[in-house]
């Protein structure tokens, strides 16, 4: 390269002629536009923006120009390179987007494929039903109480005003625990009801007492579609100043509304339990037929056997004798208690036709209930 030459005419330098620069620019733009993928674009990039590309070579010539010519030539080349780089970047983005779109399409899978890799478990519906009832009472301020399944006869019977010869004692077909001498006089039974928990709760402290106690109970029934020797009850007791039968009604209405639904009639039938007085059986209007099946053979109802009512359980005002046995002054306190059979509620609330399904532990029965009912 020669020294700066005042007479040097840029037009004389072939590579810096405007038409040549423009041609190089246009060729570059065309090459980028023609690049079909990122590989071709890369080749075009090398050819048109690399060190040996026409514009790069032309740029080098500027240094040899006389000072008065440098500016114009620099501007000419700069504009051309700017246009080329811009087009390259634009094409790069376009082609990358195209590639990404293509790859994501290729990577698509059938998301409807079944996937059973992690097996699911389930809790027994009787467990979750009991918890649901517990929660309803806990929200009302109750505590959850429990007691042993092998229970003292005194707690299962005597303290509940069922003395040894009480006819009601033979009504309940009791499993008796063998005494050390082999006789039935161990003073212990498999509890026939959750009511002994009432006594335990009363013995544990002074009123006010508000407690709910679900649990397993036992009667000597053979297993069939509607009976099981081992079943579950939930019992609630309230002992406080001024507790009345009306409070019992209100409490059960809340429970039924929460558990089964609102707008259902309850029927309160006078009944007899030694531990309550007055005593009642509670019937719930059938929530399936709402009584429409009664005397109507064309519309039989499986849920209530066309009776129109479903038995919920027994209840009443705690017999003062029971309070006395538990050391509570009946002149100051009164109470109510009720007990419900969970199996029957499950049958009704969830259309379970056969109680054996709750007993046998077949996973096909339990799995659909999942974690909550």
């Amino acid at each position: 390269m020669s020294a700066p030459n005042k007479s040097y005419d840029p037009v004389e330098v072939e590579a810096l002629k405007p038409e040549v620069v423009e041609q190089a620019r246009d060729e570059a733009l065309a090459a980028f536009a023609a690049a079909a993928d990122l590989d071709e674009l890369k080749q075009a990039k090398v050819a048109h923006t690399g060190d040996r590309s026409p514009l790069s070579l032309a740029n080098r010539e500027i240094g040899a120009l006389p000072p008065q010519a440098k500016a114009a030539a620099g501007k000419l080349i700069g504009q051309a390179r700017g246009a080329v780089n811009q087009a390259l970047a634009k094409r790069q983005v376009e082609l990358e987007a195209e590639r990404d779109a293509r790859v994501l399409v290729e990577e698509a899978v059938d998301v409807t494929l079944p996937y059973g890799r992690v097996p699911r478990g389930a809790r027994h519906p009787l467990t979750t039903l009991a918890e649901r009832i517990e929660d309803t009472f806990v929200a009302m301020g109750y505590q959850v109480a429990s007691g042993p399944e092998v229970e003292a006869e005194w707690l299962n019977f005597d303290a509940l005003n069922l003395h040894a010869d009480h006819p009601a004692r033979s009504m309940q077909d009791t499993f008796f625990v063998e005494a050390p001498d082999g006789s039935a006089d161990s003073g212990m039974v498999l509890r026939t009801q959750t009511s002994p928990v009432q006594i335990r709760a009363m013995l544990a402290g002074e009123p006010p007492l508000y407690a709910v106690s679900p649990g397993r109970v036992y009667r000597t029934d053979e297993l069939d579609a509607t009976h099981t020797p081992v079943f579950r009850q939930v019992e609630a007791i309230a002992v406080d100043e001024g507790i009345t039968f009306g409070h019992l009604k209100g409490t059960i209405e809340v429970l039924v509304e929460k558990l089964i639904g609102g707008g259902l009639e309850l029927r309160w039938r006078p009944s007899y339990f030694p531990f309550t007085e007055p005593s009642a059986e509670i019937d719930l209007q059938c929530f399936v037929c709402r009584g429409a099946s009664v005397g109507n053979p064309d519309r039989p109802c499986r849920t209530c056997s066309s009776e129109g009512w479903i038995e919920l359980g027994g209840c009443g005002v705690v017999n003062p004798r029971v309070l006395v046995a538990a050391g509570i002054d009946p002149s100051r306190y009164s109470g109510f208690a009720f007990g419900l059979g969970l199996e029957r509620i499950l049958m009704n609330r969830h259309n379970v036709a056969d109680m054996r399904d709750m007993v046998e532990g077949d996973v096909r029965f339990t799995l659909p209930f999942g974690m909550e009912i």
Binding site: H124, H163, S186, G246, E253, P278
Partner: protein, 836 residues
């Protein structure tokens, strides 16, 4: 108690249109449990008429006797001609009046009747038995009617086939409702109608010339009425109306004297007993038995008596179990009919007993001899002692009227003096119990309806009626008022409870266990807790295994399973097998529940007083007698734990899953579980983990012993875990938040060679201890045995992650910690760095 509506109407003038259902609804609201309302006779359609047998031709050559008869049915068949009927029964003769259904009629079934050819003859109708008409389960051939009925008379009405029967389950406090009289009283109160009391009879006063009775136990027997009827026709039969009422009430007609005693019992609720006077030897005595005495009861069973049994005796000894069942030696004889004269011989003179016995004595005797009878059922629940005289009178009247007897003038009536029971009750007690406002006038009126005498104003002095021994305290009376006013009318309200405390920590823990296991893929089951020796044999428990010591039941459902479980495994494995048998092959089951562990020295739980709070000592003694009942959790697994599928291979369940289930439970408890190799039935001796919290064993897990698997018919490699939840639970536990360092982690791997017998848990513990505080986590990522590890050795490869809370660790610091870890492992377990 079965109550025919037609019979009930005799005492209460119920509105004509009232159906059985209507009456039942009213009685239900008043507290009688009407279980069903039976519609009788709706499935019988006439013509059903009285027929007179004109001729009988015995057909032969068939497998059973067949009779070809002509029967006069009057004008009922439209022609007046004798009806030709083929009949398979033989208990009738020419001239007998029978019940004939004519073609066009329908018997229950339904069996439509038409004329048809059979046994070579035309049979235009059928001669009916009681069973065919749905009257009872009498199998003794066709009905032979008394001779007085005209042929052609409508038999549907004659036999009172159409009726409604209310079946009432009488609760133990309402003994009086085990009678028409009692139910009628409730019906009268429910409808506000007057009651025609069947016990309101004219009875001659007691005198000294009745049959001699001595009551030696006036506590056991506080009333004894005896009447005598002589000259009874032994051949007399119960009239149709009486038989039908008994049948509808569910009692089979037997013989006239017995039918009458049963009828009066149903009517007024007083059990009666009839003795053949000529078979009673001397005066009747009422006393307790002498231990060892014997009595053959009516049912032909010879019974050994206990000193507590209350007896009716004569000079020969016991002749009846008082209030429960009579003796065979003095019972009314079955009539024997002389074939030639047609005259019947049998009992002609009858003593009628109407007594009142103490409920407890009767209940115990009935229970002891397993003899629940209609009589004992009533005495146990309380019989009206004032009805005895009327009941005896009613029986005498019927024997005279129907059996042609003569009532003797003697009237025996021994009555122990009864104090008048008066109960004071605050007039507002019913209001306070119900939470309603009745007012004194309503309270008084309702108590009077029940039969009480009521005097007073603020405090009412109430004398309950003799038939309500259950009314003993003010609350009994309050209940009567509230029930008659209607439970439905008590306003509902909510009590104001004190602030709640929510679930206890233990309750929350128990829920967490269930949620955690279900979340880990386990399905909950609830097995029965009944086990037997075979259960333990199958588990391979040694003869002296503590789990064989059980709490036993006196009256198990299944004699092979008389005990309560000491482990959850038998029930759980049973459920597993049941599932497998039904084709559910990949299973992970769990159960939580109590086991029952007898005390070292079993004791009897005391029967404490009920008239006051027991002392703390008494309660402690009572609780000490109960078996320990800890709460357990168990799991059982078989098949694939992780299923294979299009994603790749699955994984079979095994010992490690069972151990992991224990860790899931421990995590729910928030406690650290230590695992130790152990040998414990029913687990595989080489694949059994002992689970500990600190130094306390809380359970076991692993693969079951192959012998156990075989004995229980389980799939191979079935695994199980059982854990004591009570031991795992720690009250008041609180998690402290750990510091979380933002400095980078330094990861170092080590591969150690140890003897094959060394436990990974020991190596890990040593590494942790040696690594010190900088160790953030440690993971065993590879285990292998074989040539590279050396004979009798295994290689354990760990990744150790180190991190400081206050700085970035240098490579030297991390390496130093790693070397310290390896050094402790080497010292404790003989571990050698692989390649070193």
């Amino acid at each position: 108690m079965r109550v025919p509506l037609s019979w009930l109407r005799e005492y209460v003038d119920l509105p004509a249109g009232e159906t059985g259902r209507d009456v039942a609804a009213r009685l239900v609201r008043a507290g009688l449990e009407v279980e069903t309302v039976e519609q009788l006779g709706t499935d019988v359609k006439g013509p059903l008429v009285v027929g007179e047998v004109l001729s009988i031709e015995e057909l032969t050559g068939f497998k059973k006797p067949i009779r070809h008869c002509f029967v006069n049915v009057g004008a009922a068949n439209g022609t007046g001609e004798p009806q030709e009927i083929v009949c398979g029964a033989t208990n009738f003769q020419v001239g007998d009046k029978v019940v004939v259904i004519l073609p066009g009629g329908v018997l229950p079934g339904p069996f439509p009747i038409s004329a048809r050819q059979t046994y070579g003859h035309t049979s235009a109708g059928m001669i009916c038995s009681a069973r065919e008409l749905g009257m009872g389960d009498d199998h003794n051939g066709i009905i032979v009617l008394p001779p007085e009925y005209e042929p052609g008379t409508d038999a549907i009405e004659l036999l009172q086939l159409v009726d409604e029967v209310l079946d009432i389950a009488v609760t133990p406090d309402r003994g009086y409702c085990l009678s028409m009289r009692g139910v009628a009283r409730e019906a009268a109160a429910a409808y506000g109608l007057p009651l025609a009391d069947p016990a309101l009879l004219d009875v001659p006063p007691a005198n000294s010339y009745g049959y001699l009775v001595k009551v030696a136990d006036p506590v056991g027997c506080d009333r004894f009425v005896a009447r005598t009827v002589t000259g009874v026709d032994p051949g007399a039969k119960s009239p149709i109306w009486l038989q039908r009422r008994l049948q509808k009430a569910g009692i089979r007609p037997v013989s006239l004297a017995v039918d009458i005693t049963n009828y009066v019992m149903l009517e007024v609720g007083q059990p009666l007993h009839a003795y053949d006077r000529n078979r009673v030897d001397g005066p009747i005595q009422v006393r307790r038995a002498v231990e060892g005495e014997e009595l053959t009861t009516l049912d032909g069973v010879k019974r050994k008596l206990s000193a507590e049994d209350l007896l009716i005796c004569d000079n020969s000894g016991p002749i009846g179990l008082a209030g429960v069942m009579g003796g065979a030696s003095t019972e009314i004889l079955d009539p024997v009919v002389d074939a030639e004269t047609g005259l019947a011989t049998g009992t002609t003179d009858i003593i009628v007993e109407a007594a009142h016995f103490e409920p407890v004595a009767i209940a115990r005797t009935a229970k002891r001899h397993k003899l629940p009878s209609e009589a004992s059922k009533r005495f146990e629940r309380g019989v009206d002692p004032e009805a005895a005289r009327a009941a005896a009178q009613r029986a005498v009247d019927l024997l005279v009227l129907i059996a042609g007897g003569t009532a003797e003038a003697g009237v025996t009536d021994i009555a122990a003096p009864h104090p008048v029971r008066t109960i004071p009750i605050d007039a507002d007690l019913p209001d306070r119990v119900a939470g309603a406002e009745y007012g004194r006038e309503t309270v008084t009126r309702r108590l009077q309806e029940v039969g009480c005498t009521v005097v007073g104003t603020d405090v009412l002095e109430v004398t309950p009626p003799s038939w309500r021994p259950d009314l003993t305290d003010p609350y009994d009376l309050a209940e009567e008022v509230i029930r008659l006013e209607g439970y439905d009318n008590v306003p509902a309200r909510m009590p104001v409870t004190p602030p709640g405390r929510g679930l206890s920590e233990a309750q929350r823990f128990h829920r967490r266990v269930g949620v955690a296991l279900a979340g880990a893929g386990y399905v909950e089951i609830n097995a029965y807790p009944f086990v037997g020796d075979a259960s333990f044999d199958a588990l391979g428990l040694e003869a002296d295994d503590a789990r064989r010591r059980t709490v036993k039941l006196v009256n198990p459902l299944n004699d092979a399973e008389p005990a309560l479980r000491t482990t959850l495994l038998p029930g759980l494995l049973g459920a597993l097998r049941r599932n497998v048998g039904r084709g559910n092959t990949d299973l992970a089951l769990f159960e939580t529940g109590t086991v029952f562990l007898p005390k070292a020295e079993p004791k009897v739980a005391p029967r404490l007083p009920v008239d006051r709070r027991p002392t703390e000592e008494q309660l402690a003694e009572l609780n000490a007698a109960l078996p320990d009942q800890p709460r357990r959790v168990a799991v059982a697994l078989t098949g694939e734990r992780l299923p294979s599928g299009w994603w790749g291979k699955g994984a079979p369940s095994g010992w490690a899953d069972a151990v992991e289930a224990a860790r899931v439970v421990a995590a729910a408890a928030g406690v650290e579980l230590t695992v130790r190799q152990a040998q414990y039935a029913p687990w595989h001796p080489g694949r059994c983990a002992e689970l500990l919290v600190g130094e306390e064993v809380v359970g076991h897990a692993g693969e079951l012993h192959p012998r156990v698997v075989k004995a229980l018919h389980l799939p191979e490699r079935t695994s199980a875990m059982e854990l004591d939840l009570d031991l795992l639970f720690e009250d008041g536990r609180r998690v402290s938040g750990p510091p979380v360092s933002a400095y980078p982690v330094a990861t170092q791997d080590v591969a150690l060679i140890v003897d094959a017998a060394v436990h990974a848990a020991d190596v890990e513990a040593a590494l942790r201890e040696g690594a010190g505080e900088l160790l953030e986590s440690l993971r065993l990522f590879d285990v292998f045995t074989g040539e590279q590890a050396g004979a009798g050795k295994k290689s354990l490869a760990y990744t150790l992650r180190f991190r400081a809370t206050d700085r970035t660790l240098t490579a030297d610091e991390a390496s130093a910690a790693r070397e310290a870890a390896v050094a402790v492992a080497a010292e404790r377990t003989g571990a050698v760095l692989r390649g070193a």
